[in-house]
């Protein structure tokens, strides 16, 4: 972690290496790292609070090249962690480094970093191409036009590139934001819920792109609150619950731990009582109840088997499914369960 970069032109101080307190050997054993992997991103005892509210509490982890999922329920602190990582906000305590250098206020790091923020609003009066090109110019890319065309091609937005961003669908805005983050060819990419609002085809395209970027040796960190989504692109995950690191490492091992805890799924159907009877007869279902609004609340210890069984049972019983949704509190309780282990 002694890598040096040129002194930033506009900073009054040189781009000092972040004062990481851990020795390199200890740093390489940080949660989230496969043994022997050299971390690109390091969080050392990072906390961030807002008055009395603790958003991130004493979090330490390392992230190496490849795709890492930042998983946790809504409000767990994922976005705060990504903002800390990008240097948009400062930690209350602790140290954050990318390539051994502090991120905040460090243009040398910004040149190697791409961020896809969660918020949807992108300058609505610019066309997609103008927006991506603006990012290329601000990143001081040598040939902004060529870089813009390449980035737009990566997210397959060529046809809509000349249209104003204000007229884009949510999924198109997500893709153009990804193009803007990739326009300067960064080796660290942070994405905050990038699959939100995308349709299945867009989602598949973005997931394939994320996997490709990871395979190219970039460090890609993607936040999500949907485990099944993260499974499709990440090899490693960091699980954040209530601002704390609940689990880190190989996604399959963590998923197995999660599966040991019951999950609750809400189902709306045109004949809830008939479907409840069918569900209770299936081995993947532990318990079923129908609430006052006619919604089914089913509990399962095997979410995958349950997900497969639901449509098959609906077809067999001739029941029409109106909505199937994992109860978020249930997901939060799974994460909380991990913290307790």
């Amino acid at each position: 972690m002694t890598e040096t970069t040129p002194r930033p032109r506009w900073s009054a101080r040189p781009a000092a290496a972040a004062p990481l307190s851990m020795p390199p050997a200890e740093r390489e054993a940080l949660p989230g790292l496969v043994a022997g992997a050299s971390p690109t991103v390091v969080f050392e005892h990072v906390s961030r609070w807002y008055g009395d509210i603790v958003a991130v509490s004493d979090v330490s982890f390392g992230v190496a090249a490849g795709v890492t999922g930042l998983l946790g329920p809504n409000g767990a602190g994922k976005s705060t962690i990504l903002k800390l990582m990008a240097g948009l906000i400062s930690p209350s305590t602790g140290t954050i480094a990318i390539h051994g250098q502090k991120t905040r206020g460090n243009p040398a790091v910004y040149k190697r970093l791409g961020l896809v923020p969660e918020q949807e609003i992108v300058y609505p009066f610019l066309t997609g191409r103008e927006f991506v090109r603006l990012n290329a110019v601000l990143q001081e890319v040598v040939d902004p036009a060529a870089a813009t065309a390449r980035a737009i091609g990566l997210v397959e937005m060529e046809e809509a590139a000349e249209r104003a961003v204000g007229g884009y669908s949510k999924g198109m805005r997500q893709r153009i934001k990804v193009a803007a983050a990739l326009v300067h060819d960064p080796d660290v990419l942070l994405l905050d819920e990038p699959l939100n609002g995308t349709d299945p085809v867009q989602r598949a395209g973005l997931i394939a792109l994320l996997r490709r970027l990871g395979a190219e040796g970039r460090t890609v960190i993607v936040s999500s609150h949907v485990l099944t989504e993260v499974e499709r692109f990440a090899d490693n995950i960091l699980v954040i619950v209530n601002g704390k690191l609940a689990a880190a490492g190989d996604i399959l091992a963590i998923r197995d731990k999660m599966d040991e805890h019951p999950r609750e799924v809400m189902i709306r159907a045109d004949d809830p009582r008939r479907f409840a009877a069918a569900l209770i007869g299936d081995r993947s279902t532990s318990a079923v109840r129908v609430d006052g609004d006619g919604r089914l609340l089913a509990q399962t210890h095997d979410i995958r088997a349950f997900s497969r069984a639901v449509p098959l049972l609906a077809r067999r019983e001739g029941v029409r499914l109106l909505e199937v949704q994992a109860v978020d509190e249930s997901l939060a309780s799974v994460f909380a369960y991990l913290v307790g282990r």
């Binding site: 506009w10 990008a86 948009l88 910004y110 961020l115 923020p117 918020q119 300058y123 609505p124 990012n135």
Partner: protein
């Protein structure tokens, strides 16, 4: 400011973006309406001029309406929205997470405010002067009203430029420091620049209006048009330059240190 103007786009991208932002939103239109308000009053004046000369009408309108109220509100709207829109829409990280100097971002935003505000404000003043010049001729004057009003228009333009520079700098800073910058700016304009400045001489002498009025009086050089405690032209311009530089430097510092949620 489209891709057809790649030079501006490449050299001053934040400036180009901000001008587009102003033109796409309603702030430029509101500024234009404010700039044309004196012209409306000039038209009303032409209908019933009484014994007021065009020069008297213009001087009063400029000193009592334009400088203390219209100019600050017009610049306030543009300057607070330059960063305010980015903060509200959370788009500022697209500018700050780049290897670009914070003072440069602030200067480009400031330049965009001036480039949109000044043509509208100066155009409005020129039109007002043209309309008012059709008023009753001052019999004591031997020159045509259009000619006699030339130096007056020049003095008004000079004071407007000085006031706009100062107001844009201060309100850019305010928009980065105060959460409800537009509201805070409105309170400042009406309480400090307009109301208190009118009744309390001490307050007036430390107002932005006073600096602009000093420039106006000094450029006009008319002994009949005075301002209590007016600074010299050099003193007023120096004050404008120093306060503007300090405000812009503080804005750049604030942009560097603030958290972007």
């Amino acid at each position: 400011m489209t891709l057809a103007t790649p030079l501006v786009w490449r050299a001053l991208p934040v400036f180009a973006l901000t001008v587009r932002q102003f033109l796409a939103g309603r702030m430029a239109r509101v500024t234009l309406a404010l700039a044309l308000l004196p012209t409306l009053f000039a038209l009303i004046y032409l209908v019933r001029p009484g014994d007021v000369t065009p020069r008297g009408f213009l001087t009063t309108t400029f000193q009592q309406l334009f400088l203390p109220t219209l100019l600050p509100i017009a610049v306030l709207l543009l300057a607070t929205s330059a960063f305010g829109n980015e903060l509200e829409d959370r788009t500022l990280p697209y500018l700050t997470l780049k290897p670009r100097a914070r003072p440069r971002i602030v200067l480009e935003k400031w330049l965009a405010v001036l480039v949109v505000a000044l043509p509208l404000l100066l155009g409005g003043l020129a039109l007002t002067t043209l309309v008012a010049s059709r008023g009753p001729v001052d019999t004591a004057s031997r020159v045509a009203p259009e000619t006699a009003l030339g130096p007056l228009l020049g003095a008004m333009a000079g004071a407007t430029v000085a006031g706009t520079v100062l107001l844009a700098s201060v309100f850019l800073l305010v928009s980065l420091v105060v959460p409800r910058a537009l509201l805070a700016g409105m309170v400042y304009v009406f309480a400090w620049e307009t109301l208190l400045g009118r009744f309390l001489p001490g307050v007036k002498s430390v107002s932005i209006r006073h600096a602009a009025e000093s420039v106006f009086v000094a450029l006009l050089g008319d002994p009949d048009v005075t301002v209590e405690g007016a600074s010299t032209l050099r003193g007023a311009l120096l004050a404008v330059a120093i306060v503007s530089l300090v405000a812009l430097a503080l804005a750049a510092w604030r942009l560097r240190t603030m958290d972007l949620e």
